[in-house]
Amino acid sequence: MIVDGEHTFPGPRQTVWDLLQDPEVLAKAMPGARKLTLTGDGTYAGVIRIGVGPVTAAEWTLNVALRDRVPPESYTMQVDSKGALGFTRGNATVNLDEVEGGTRMRYHADLSVGGKVAGVGQRLLDQVAKMLTKQGLDALNKELESRLRDGGGPGDQAR
């Protein structure tokens, strides 16, 4: 399954970068996230709860490793998630560009989805992925706006 698209954050690139590396922010932004903790340099572990269409919501363990980090421009993400209903694994690349009005994030994820969720939820997977991505980006947007309102982060200097 390919999940790709772009989104423009109304804020400076460094602030967006910092936001995207912060487990607390990510835990809040990630739909269904029960917890997310930093377990090492650029590695996160957590638990999320997601259902897909007829597949009842269930808990998934999530391991994410950020690689090839070029702050504040780009990184890749290795995603490994599994639960009783199957698994999702794969890689995603994230690029941040400075554009007029803020920072444009381009993302491209190539995920393999397996088990019950693939067999039964297939025709909804794309929609669910899009919906979850949108929910996540909206939440990140909110978080960014509140950071900027509260006096901004270290990214301000970079501006």
């Binding site: 269930a58 393999s112 397996g114 088990g115 019950k116 693939a118 067999g119």
Partner: protein
């Protein structure tokens, strides 16, 4: 014999039980203290198992046992090779049977890894989520050709290759035949997977009775006796201490054959081990992943013709997907190989296949069992050739049918019964003409043109096929007249809706001249009858039916002999009439069969030396060759050229399964088979992604045809009786679904003569057909000819 039952359709003996809910299905088995099993199954198509942590599951309340491969000890063994490969020169066969639980590697999604046994299915299912299996994913093998590449990941490392088999069979000399060809056609054809989708899923229940020292297993199997024999061996029990009962089963269609599925092997083991009854009922999800499937093959076929449209020879190379394991040997590709030849005179044939392991669910026979593929390839080649030669599709078939004086006919290639492919009897051309008469030989093209003028696209497909049925090795039957005068018939088959309780009763009732409903048939219980193989390959009626007949004839002989003794007249003066023996010409001197049965089992005196007590006999029947059924299917479709939706307007079957035992049961088999075939042609496809993940594992996404999609079949029967069994029977169980895809393809092309459309794949779907229509250029062919009349030879019949 005054009563005739064979060839009639009495009310079915089993229907009262089925319709009133009194029939026992395996899931109806409820025993005190019964435990329930559920299985942790692989989410991965191909992965190593690095570890399993089942401790949390075991700690859950209500969980009785959590079993991994390690826990099975010596009981962990790959399953038996169910059908060894035929003795073909130069054959390569690499065996890899399924294992009870994956030990170090999983090879398809849905493969069982851990068995959980709990006080209820709910608890067992809950506990599944407690089990942690640590997988290391491996690259999956899905594509048949890529699987054989040098650098492909190997599914069974001990084999060092994904090649499951390589077989070459030849009849005549194709290369020589081709040199004089007027026309040579070469095409690639794809056939993809579908599910058997039986209404009842698999189910196994087992109970160990320590006082009787007997293990009883209720199993939705088509072959209870082989399952009993195998499980007795695996469990170290006497065969006589294992009883396998296959009660009513809601559809078999092949995957319920003697598979020794992991669940089938583990549930009895657990019952024995835990000392409590255990049951497992497959849910539909599991069925999609873990019950065997069929039909992925890729054929590269070439056919050579003379200028007058006679087949000179055929060469076919094909790949056969056997899935993750190959316990059923080569039955399917051998069937494809043999059935391709169809009802035609093919002087030269070179057929070569490679069976390939893939990380998909294991492939074993599903109704048709490879025959579809061969028929599809052959019939498509004929259609393409007919177009090239300017012949009507029916005409090219007429020119190539084997004539009725050419039987028995042998091809020098081995069939699934290990004997040279042998057509015992047949008469093909008249079936085609009968089908065209039903279609409307003189009116169809005019109707088509009229519809066309209204902007409707109507098309006709007419195809032929043969089906090798009724193969050995043997079946048996025991017929007993009880003191009540009622008759009991026991056979070893399993029954899955074929009407055995009636068809076998008809055969016996006719011989013993009693009412059909006084003949009680039991099947599928190894305690009732312990010798035989099972219900598959359209063989039940032919092989077990013949055994029932032979046993009934033996009982009849005993009746006459006992009657002569009791009535005090010579045997040739005794007649059996209306459930009684009587003296010929003196009907007052008679005795009912029940009373006679009492005389055959005396309480005092002695049984006459050299005779056996009771009016009972057991007989076995094993034919030298199967019997070759055949038929013609015609389909009229209407294609919506914009949406690519196809509506089947008419479906015509002219079928020849020899002597009909029960025409209504035969009609039901054909109608059901056609439904299966229509699903296979246009609705049903198991879609796997490149990762080996099944994408449509539910009836929301996997389309089964409904009653609205399947027309009532217009049927005609021909009876070319089989010479190799006493009643002249041929099988009918698979006939309906074998040529359906080929008929569908021809009909859709015929509906759209303005397009250069050539259908070389099955299943189609509206989506896929839409793409084919979109990509098809304009046709440069002449409009369809009249359907034409029979040749003089066929008309003479």
């Amino acid at each position: 014999m005054s009563r005739t039952y064979v060839g009639t359709s009495p009310v079915r003996n089993e229907d009262r039980r089925l319709l009133t809910g009194q029939a026992l299905f395996v899931d109806d088995v409820q025993l005190p203290g019964m435990l329930h099993a559920a299985f942790v199954r692989s989410d991965h198509a191909h992965a190593l198992i690095r570890g399993i942590d089942a401790s949390a599951a075991l700690a859950r309340e209500g969980v009785v046992a959590v079993i991994t491969a390690e826990d099975l000890g010596d009981y962990w063994q790959p399953g038996p090779l169910l059908v060894p490969p035929p003795p073909i020169d130069g054959i390569v066969f690499n065996q890899a049977s399924q294992v009870p639980l994956a030990k170090d590697r999983v090879r398809h999604v849905g493969e069982p890894v851990v068995m959980v046994i709990a006080e209820s299915r709910y608890l067992a299912e809950d506990a599944l989520t407690d089990v942690f299996v640590d997988y290391e994913p491996l690259d999956p093998v899905v594509d048949l050709e890529a699987a054989l590449a040098e650098d492909a990941p190997v599914i069974h490392p001990q084999l060092g290759t994904n090649l499951a088999a390589h077989v070459v069979q030849r009849h005549g000399d194709y290369e020589a035949a081709k040199t004089d060809a007027h026309l040579v056609i070469n095409r690639r054809f794809h056939y993809d997977r579908g599910a058997a989708a039986a209404m009842e899923n698999r189910c196994v229940a087992a109970r160990w009775d320590p006082r009787a020292e007997e293990l009883t297993i209720w199993d939705t199997t088509q072959a209870p006796i082989p399952i009993r024999n195998g499980l007795a061996r695996m469990l170290g029990l006497l065969e006589s201490r294992v009883r396998v009962v296959a009660p009513f089963v809601g559809g078999g269609f092949g995957p319920k054959i003697m598979m020794f599925y992991p669940e089938e092997v583990l549930v009895p083991w657990a019952a024995l081990r835990l000392g409590r009854p255990v049951k497992w009922t497959e849910d539909r999800q599991e069925n999609f992943f873990a019950t065997t499937q069929e039909r992925s093959q890729i054929h590269d076929a070439e056919i050579a013709f003379s200028a007058d449209g006679k087949i000179l020879g055929i060469r076919d190379f094909f790949f056969h997907d056997t899935g993750a394991y190959d316990p059923y040997g080569l039955t399917i590709p051998i069937n494809s190989q043999c059935t391709l030849l169809g009802p035609y005179d093919v002087p030269a044939y070179h057929s070569e296949f490679r069976a390939v392991f893939t990380n998909r669910t294991t492939v074993t026979p599903v109704r048709g069992a490879g025959r579809q593929h061969g028929v599809f390839v052959m019939e498509r080649l004929l259609d393409i050739a007919a177009r090239e030669l300017g012949l009507d599709p029916s005409e090219i078939r007429r020119r190539n049918y084997l004539r009725k004086d050419e039987f028995p006919h042998t091809f020098q290639i081995l069939f699934q019964d290990f004997a040279p492919l042998y057509y015992d009897s047949g008469n093909y051309a008249p079936a085609l003409e009968a089908a065209l008469d039903i279609v409307g030989r003189d009116t169809f093209r005019a109707e088509q043109a009229r519809a066309r003028a209204e902007g409707r696209f109507i098309g006709l497909g007419v195809v032929s096929y043969v089906e090798g049925t009724g193969i050995g090795p043997y079946e048996g039957a025991r017929v007993t007249i009880e003191p009540s005068g009622q008759v009991r018939v026991a056979t070893g088959l399993g029954t899955q809706g074929q009407g055995h309780y009636t068809a076998f009763a008809q055969i016996v009732a006719e011989v013993l001249d009693v009412d059909v409903d006084r003949v009680h048939v039991v099947t599928g219980d190894t305690r009732e009858f312990g010798w035989g193989t099972g219900t598959f390959a359209s063989r039940g009626a032919v092989v077990a039916g013949s055994a029932c007949h032979e046993a009934a004839v033996a009982v009849r002989k005993k009746v006459i002999e006992t009657g002569a003794r009791v009535l005090g007249v010579p045997a040739d003066e005794v007649e059996l009439e209306d459930g009684a023996v009587r003296v010929r010409g003196d009907h007052a001197r008679s005795m009912g069969l029940g009373q006679l049965a009492g005389h055959a089992n005396p309480l005092r005196g002695a049984v006459v030396p050299g005779t056996e007590p009771g009016l009972e006999a057991t007989a076995y029947f094993g034919p030298d060759h199967g019997s070759t059924a055949s038929g013609v299917h015609a389909m009229v479709v209407e294609v919506d050229a914009e949406t690519a939706m196809v509506k089947i307007l008419r479906y015509i079957v002219v079928h020849d399964c020899g002597k009909l035992i029960n025409p209504v049961i035969v009609a039901g088999q054909v109608q059901g088979g056609v439904a299966h075939g229509i699903g296979n042609a246009f609705y049903e496809q198991l879609v796997y992604d490149e990762g080996g993940q099944l994408q449509n594992a539910s009836f929301m996404d996997y389309l089964l045809p409904t009653a609205l999609d399947v027309p009532s079949v217009e049927m005609a029967h021909r009876e070319t009786t089989a010479p190799l069994n006493p009643l002249g029977l041929k099988g009918v169980g698979e006939a309906g679904c074998i040529p359906t895809g080929a008929a569908f393809a021809q009909a859709v092309e015929d509906a759209l003569p303005h397009l250069a459309l050539e259908i070389r794949e099955i299943p189609l779907s509206p989506n896929r057909l839409f793409e084919l229509l979109r990509d098809a250029g304009p046709a440069d062919r002449a409009p369809a000819a009249e359907l034409g009349g029979p040749t003089a030879a066929a008309a003479a019949d």
